[in-house]
């Protein structure tokens, strides 16, 4: 958890460039693609990336620093407050989320110190990482709905992964990070593909689903993410094949299923979840699933507070 990497040189920029500005630039030169060409697309993505024709988005160093610091034995509330205060955008996002229904008490939180005292360092660091990730990777003026869905699935998986980890006596902090980051390849792939401007929506979604793990893996490498997060990004929808951290990847997949159920009960029913292989692999019995689902409204409220 402490080894999250960051691109220090961008640390103090308050307005982060997002991946769409970078990917837009290649739209004009990219060849058209058709469905089923996801592997080619990954190759093309990698080629352009290696050639320096496209750039990966970055997370502001503050976000990583805060997350690392809060999750390390050296956590120091004052130091963290100072770090967050320096980054105006993060600071205002934190206050917005901290004052949302899921987190705030009766009194309004007006300062970061207050937010830390009220919410604690861990929650604060999760808010910081979450809001920074959203701003950096998931914001895109062309695909608002889909980006919003990917973001909600990522954050939802993070929140559920904590509950699943708690139930399984696995590490809760690692689970959150793995859940949050598992689908970062999707917004990247979507932006890359959308920039080619040739496909219908449904086709686009299929290709994104196939290409995302490998494209996400490049980002994980670039961001120097810890082992479990890398494996979850690359293998969450194919967890049987994960060479390491298979249970973490399976946990993320199960958490994604719980998120989909939470977001779309009509199409993903609780009964359907009972038969889900990932939940069975984690040894989650129907009655355990019931106990997990009892937390649905709390998880939903937390999810809404970020959205």
């Amino acid at each position: 958890m402490r080894c999250l990497g960051a691109r220090e040189e961008r640390a103090d920029k308050a307005d982060y460039p997002t991946s769409d500005t970078m990917l837009e630039s290649i739209a004009a030169t990219a060849p058209p693609v058709t469905p089923g060409e996801a592997p080619d697309l990954v190759t093309e993505f990698n080629r352009k990336l290696d050639a320096g024709e496209i750039e990966l988005p970055f997370l502001p160093a503050t976000a990583f620093k805060v997350f690392n610091l809060a999750n390390s034995p050296d956590a120091d509330a004052r130091e963290i407050a100072e770090l967050v205060e320096k980054d105006q955008k993060i600071a205002s996002d934190v206050l917005r989320v901290a004052n949302s229904a899921a987190f705030s008490g009766q009194a309004e939180i007006v300062t970061l110190r207050q937010a830390i005292t009220r919410l604690g360092l861990k929650v604060l660091s999760e808010i910081v990482l979450g809001t920074a990730l959203k701003a950096s990777v998931y914001e895109d003026k062309h695909n608002l709905d889909r980006m919003q869905l990917y973001w909600r699935e990522g954050l939802g998986a993070a929140l559920w992964a904590k509950e699943v980890a708690r139930m399984r006596r696995a590490n809760v902090e690692t689970a959150y990070l793995c859940g949050l980051l598992h689908n970062v390849g999707k917004p990247l792939s979507l932006k890359f593909l959308a920039s080619l401007n040739v496909l219908q929506d449904d086709e686009l979604v299929q290709i994104v689903d196939v290409a995302a793990p490998q494209i996400g893996a490049r980002l994980a490498e670039n961001w120097k993410l810890p082992g479990p997060a890398r494996m979850c990004i690359e293998y969450y929808n194919n967890y049987h094949e994960a060479p390491d951290y298979r249970e973490d990847a399976c946990g993320v997949y199960a958490s994604l299923m719980l998120t989909r159920h939470m977001l779309d009960e009509e199409n993903v029913s609780a009964d359907g979840l009972v038969g889900d292989e990932s939940l069975q692999s984690l040894n989650i019995y129907p009655e355990d699933l019931g106990k997990l689902l009892d937390k649905k409204s709390r998880v939903a409220a937390e999810l809404e507070s970020f959205s």
Binding site: S72, P73, I116, N171, P286
Partner: protein, 472 residues
């Protein structure tokens, strides 16, 4: 609903259940082994004995390395992520896992993955993870469902900041400070492991001393070592409340003091896993301590239902659980039992190790009146000096004639292995003289037995025949 019939159904695949199932299968029975987890082994393999001992071994290795690094002026990163410390665990667990599964398969035991509960005294319903239910009928049923950490009402365990002895193994970095609630074996083991790794550990319990059931000299040695690693024991304290305040864990004590730490572990006892079994359907119930009452053959009130291992309470050790499982099935099947073993050694894997067999000095005096006690420290033993074992001690408790061994207490690295020599002497009713008359390898810690025995022999009444007078 799928239906199956067996001669013997065992519930739980921990040490007790494994041995029961294998014994029954070896006797030619059709055996079903029901386990709710998707791996065999129980608490012993997945959250208890083996993981904690692996962590301990790695902690010791790290400490030795640090000592070498310091002595040789090398450089070593200060904070070791827990995942590194647990690195060998997966290896140890998977080889143990496949060993157990192979053994069960070779014996022809049928593995049934699911949660068992009674439908009637001879019928079990097994809830499968996919939502199916199976029905099992059996002539004999062995309950070996083990135990889980107790979840006290005033301790809000969240498995993130306030952990229990299961979730402690999921920590991914070493906390700077740790509060350990409890003073029993599990609490003391984890407290000493984290203290030697460099966490600032505070143990809190209502008892005046940790490991209070042990010989006071052994307790003292534990506390001395624990304090030398920077640990603190707060005895005779009750917890008023405990919470994660967003920044750290805060423990309010009844006396008004507050203790704060980055993480906390509650090791305040264990409870038998009986809640899911619907015992009433088998016309059984747990006793007032939440355990199963059994007779000397581990038989419950229902003569065809046995209970073994942690569900019947003390000594609640992997070693005794295995033997209970084996004996229960032999009794059910009418096979010869052999003499029961009354001398069960206790091995406590604190740093340093502690081991005890038979009676402590206090217990021996209560039971026999006068006794003779001989002791030696490990720095009087060549092996102890070579290995740099500090604060080691072996104590022999004998009858008033200074002959029959009644108890052995040892503290120091190697104690849990060394205890078995004393155990055998007691089981065989041997005189303490045998530790002097027999030749052991040199230099080994076995010499400690010889020195402690001499301490007794040389203090026997002077009527002793000259031939038996002994010297070092």
């Amino acid at each position: 609903m799928k239906r199956h019939s067996f001669d013997v159904v065992v519930i739980g695949s921990g040490p007790a259940g494994q041995k029961a199932a294998i014994q029954a299968a070896e006797a030619g029975c059709m055996v079903g082994l029901v386990e709710r987890d998707n791996r065999a082994g129980g608490a012993c393999v997945h959250s208890g004995t083996i993981p904690s001992k692996t962590l301990r071994e790695n902690a010791l290795q790290l400490t030795r390395t640090r000592r070498v690094v310091r002595d040789f002026n090398l450089d070593l990163e200060q904070q070791e992520p827990m995942t590194h410390l647990m690195s060998r665990l997966q290896q140890v667990l998977s080889s143990h896992d496949s060993f157990i599964s192979d053994q069960l398969e070779r014996a022809g035991v049928e593995w049934i993955h699911g949660r068992a509960r009674f439908a009637d005294p001879h019928t079990l319903l097994v809830n499968k993870v996919d939502g199916q239910t199976w029905e099992l009928r059996s002539r004999y049923i062995v309950l070996a469902t083990g135990s889980s950490p107790r979840d006290p009402d005033n301790i809000p365990i969240d498995h993130e900041h306030i952990l229990d002895s299961d979730s402690i193994l999921s920590m991914c970095y070493l906390p700077k400070s740790l509060v350990v609630i409890g003073s029993g074996v599990i609490a003391s083991e984890y407290a000493s492991i984290f203290a030697i790794l460099g966490s600032r550990v505070t143990m809190i319990d209502r008892y005046p001393r940790p490991l209070g059931f042990l010989d006071p000299e052994l307790c003292d040695a534990f506390v001395r070592n624990f304090e030398s690693f920077g640990g603190t024991y707060l005895g005779e304290r009750d917890i008023a409340s405990m919470k994660w305040n967003g920044l750290e864990v805060e423990v309010e004590l009844e006396n008004g003091d507050t203790v704060r730490a980055e993480k906390a572990i509650a090791a305040a006892g264990r409870i038998a896993n009986l809640e899911y079994l619907e015992l009433d359907k088998a016309e059984l119930s747990a006793n007032e301590r939440g355990l199963m009452d059994v007779d000397e053959f581990c038989r419950t009130r229902q003569p065809h239902i046995y209970a073994v291992g942690d569900v019947i309470g003390a000594p609640a050790l992997a070693s005794s659980s295995m033997e209970q499982g084996r004996r229960a099935v032999r009794h059910a099947l009418g096979l010869p039992l052999g003499a029961p073993s009354h001398t069960i050694p206790a091995g406590i894997f604190t740093i340093p190790e502690i081991a005890s067999a038979g009676l402590t000095e206090v217990q021996a005096r209560e039971k026999h009146g006068s006794v003779m006690v001989g002791s030696t420290t490990f720095d009087e033993v060549a092996r102890g000096q070579i290995d740099g074992i500090q604060d080691g001690m072996l104590k022999l408790v004998c009858d008033s004639d200074g002959r029959k061994v009644l108890g052995v207490q040892i503290v120091g690295e190697g104690a849990t292995e060394l205890i078995h020599m004393g155990q055998i002497a007691m089981v065989e009713g041997l005189d303490v003289d045998m530790f002097v008359e027999n030749i052991f390898n040199f230099p080994t810690l076995a010499e400690a037995y010889r020195l402690a025995a001499l301490d007794i022999i040389n203090r026997r009444p002077k009527t002793e025949a000259p031939a038996r007078a002994a010297t070092a």
